[in-house]
């Protein structure tokens, strides 16, 4: 387990790193403006569209993309497919930062953030609220993710001292390591329960929007559809990130392992599409797909993005090649992203003539958050044992 991964080393202050840092700093300035002058000063959020891309992307889509740790945990720790173990740490890394930054995004988005802890106070908590369950669940899961990722830090500060700043390597963590290995299984179990709960509930959030959400997306099956798509996005991000970083960081590819992993995808996509289509037919909502408007166009794009990887990955040949794997994984990620954008923004019409498109400030803050996530990824894979050793490819 601990012998199979190591830091990949190399200079971390590369040009891409500096560019990403630039975006992050710019976003930080915008966030400061948001706090001093109000949400309206940097965003196009309005009474008609109170939720924009900070919710739809940063929180909803972002956490789904960060489901790598969740999906791999199911595969490795529940279904006991140990051969995928080398993929656990990279998946966890993406999850830790994806979820932590989603939580930070929440505190940028909510208006009375200084009272955000009210959600955790029993005399304020409203147990009927889907939002309460989502928030508490995500908060707990962020903690669980850091606990699950801690062994990477423990190992790094012990075995790879030389490349780390002294302040991190001062303490003796061997005692902590022992405690961790005794109790980690419990947190792994919790780390599978929690995303099952909140990824489905992220879908349930839109139930109460009622008729304001188009019949193309409004359904009692929102929680199930969000859950299935989140799980498949978890596998997709693992494949995508592995191949992208192999090219970007000039490392050997893990195509055979990824190809085997991709075998699950057609099943997941298939079940998802069956539920999605049957639900539309039974509710008599399919007619809206032919309405020739923005909503119907986005509906077709969303589902095409699901069908394309399904078709591609059904063939075992394609699953052995890196390019089809890469494009399929990307397509699934985009499919899940577009589905969530559609369910929260495109399909949402409050009436009364409102329109919304994110502002420059909103987009730059989101890009800053994404940039920071990539920065963190780059730094950590170079300094800590996350990526599998070359021999394990």
């Amino acid at each position: 387990m601990s012998e199979e991964s190591k830091p990949i080393g190399g200079e971390f202050l590369t040009t891409p790193f500096k560019v990403l840092a630039g975006f992050t700093l710019f976003a930080a300035v915008l966030v400061l403006i948001r706090y001093v002058m109000g949400i309206g000063a940097v965003s196009n959020l309005s009474d008609g569209y109170p939720w924009g891309i900070w919710i739809a992307y940063d929180v909803v889509a972002g956490t789904a993309i960060a489901c790598g740790g969740y999906s791999m945990a199911i595969l490795v720790y529940v279904l006991n497919k140990g051969e995928y173990h080398p993929l656990i740490r990279p998946a966890l890394l993406a999850s830790v930062f994806g979820y932590t930054l989603a939580a930070i995004s929440i505190f940028i988005d909510i208006g009375r953030y200084w009272q955000g802890y009210n959600m955790f106070l029993p005399w304020y908590a409203n147990v009927n609220s889907v939002m309460l369950e989502v928030a508490v669940c995500i908060a707990l899961y962020v903690m669980v993710l850091w606990i699950e990722f801690a062994p990477v830090f423990f190992e790094g500060v012990q075995k790879y001292k030389s490349s780390l700043p002294a302040i991190l390597t001062r303490w003796d963590v061997s005692g902590l390591q022992k405690i961790w290995s005794k109790f980690l299984f419990f947190f792994i179990a919790v780390g599978i329960l929690l995303p099952t709960m909140h990824q489905s509930s992220l879908g349930s959030l839109m139930l109460i929007a009622g008729k304001k959400l188009s019949p193309l997306w409004q359904t009692g099956f929102l929680p199930l559809l969000f859950l299935i798509s989140a799980i498949m996005m978890g596998y997709a991000i693992v494949i995508f990130e592995s191949l992208f970083s192999a090219v970007g960081l000039k490392r050997p590819k893990e195509t055979p392992m990824l190809g085997k992993l991709a075998g699950i995808m057609p099943w997941l996509i298939g079940v998802y599409l069956v539920v999605r289509v049957l639900d539309l037919i039974v509710r008599g909502a399919l007619g809206h797909a032919f309405a020739f408007n923005v909503q119907s166009l986005m509906f077709w794009i969303e589902n095409a993005l699901f069908v394309y990887p399904l078709v591609l990955l059904m063939s075992p040949e394609n699953r052995m090649k890196a390019r089809p794997l890469f494009l399929s994984a990307l397509s699934i990620l985009l499919a899940g992203l577009v589905y969530r954008f559609n369910a929260f923004l495109v399909g949402f019409d409050p009436g009364n003539g409102w329109h919304y498109f994110p502002s420059f400030g909103e987009i730059m803050i989101t890009m800053g958050i994404i940039s920071f996530e990539i920065l963190a990824y780059l730094y950590i894979v170079k300094k800590f044992p996350v990526l599998p050793k070359a021999e394990h490819a």
């Binding site: 000063a41 009375r112 009272q115 009927n128 609220s129 139930l207």
Partner: protein, 317 residues
């Protein structure tokens, strides 16, 4: 690519089973009943003359600032309810707009403010109970000390009533509170107090509903007495009845509201959404409770997970 028939059948079956499994008898959340002593308003669009005294009065008695949509900023002329405008009068106009309360080539006025729903979506949605429905009189009130500014209430409300102060560094949600600060003193909401024609009157919802039904039975052309300011009081005005759409909007829509509407033009044309009888709160809570009631399912699931994960990891140290 070869889709093996076997595989296709496996997927289709799994999907259908999932669908079926979710249709089992859910732990339904019972629809909410109207509170016995609930108070509210009856707004009769045919009686309204669009004078906007209610708009001015609301701003005065709630001490809300003016809201201007014109570059000159000479008037209080918002385009819609907003964070400074709890109450607004809007105009419906079709074609020439010649005849009042007629759908075609006619015009009509509609007053928009919080409906104080029987089963409010905002109350169900709010994670911190910042929006609460009074068990005594059913008024839906807002507590800024609880609010975290997540704006889920704005997503939930079918009437788009809660408004948010996006332009402020320390924002709050703003909406009509049925002048509860005046109700406490035994007074009535300012909009009802200052309506000169009796288009907007205050009273107990059961009584207002009875009055509304009574009016629906009036014959157009008759001379009838209409109460002014409040349903039960001394002030009355006489007017010639004009045709009504045979529906009291708010009796059943979205689970019912405490502000009821009578209109001469179909309510949808006035911007009042066509809602089903089942409230969105009921729908959302039914699904949520089915999955999480008592946290039984999650705890059982966790138990199973702990067992399996422990078994699979105990050899890897």
């Amino acid at each position: 690519m070869e889709i093996k028939r076997r595989d296709f059948l496996k997927v289709a079956t799994a999907g259908s089973l999932m669908l079926a499994a979710n249709v089992h008898p859910s732990i339904a959340r019972e629809p909410k009943d109207r509170i016995k002593d609930a108070v509210g308003m009856l707004y009769d669009s045919t009686v309204c003359v669009g004078c906007k005294a209610c708009v001015s009065a609301c701003k005065q008695y709630n001490e809300t600032p003016t809201s201007s949509s014109s570059t000159d900023e000479l008037w209080d002329n918002p385009l819609d309810n907003d964070s400074k405008t709890y109450n607004i009068i809007k105009l419906y106009k079709e074609g020439t707009g010649a005849v009042k309360d007629r759908e075609k080539d006619g015009h009509a006025y509609v007053k928009r403010q919080c409906m104080h729903c029987v089963d409010p979506a905002c109350v169900s949605a709010c994670p911190v109970s910042a929006l609460k429905k009074s068990p005594k009189d059913g008024v839906v009130s807002y507590d800024k000390n609880a609010c975290i500014g997540c704006r889920y209430c704005q997503v939930a409300c079918p009437y788009n009533i809660p408004k948010f102060e996006f332009e402020k560094a320390f924002p709050v949600i703003r909406k009509c509170q049925l002048c509860s600060h005046r109700l406490e003193k035994g007074e009535i909401p300012a909009c009802c107090q200052f309506c000169p024609t009796g288009a907007c009157i205050f009273g107990k919802v059961v009584d207002l509903l009875a009055e509304a039904k009574k009016r629906l039975a009036y014959k157009p052309g008759e001379l009838r007495k209409y109460p002014v300011e409040r349903l039960v009081g001394n002030q009355v005005t006489e007017r010639v009845v004009t045709p009504y759409v045979q529906n009291v909007y708010g009796e059943k829509e979205g689970g019912g509201t405490q502000v009821l509407y009578l209109t001469g033009v179909p309510s949808e044309k006035l911007g009042l959404p066509a809602l089903e009888e089942t409230s969105d709160a009921k729908r959302s809570e039914t699904i949520q409770h089915t999955i999480y009631k008592g946290m039984i399912a999650p705890i059982l699931f966790l138990g199973g997970l702990v067992y399996v994960v422990h078994k699979n990891t105990k050899d890897h140290k």
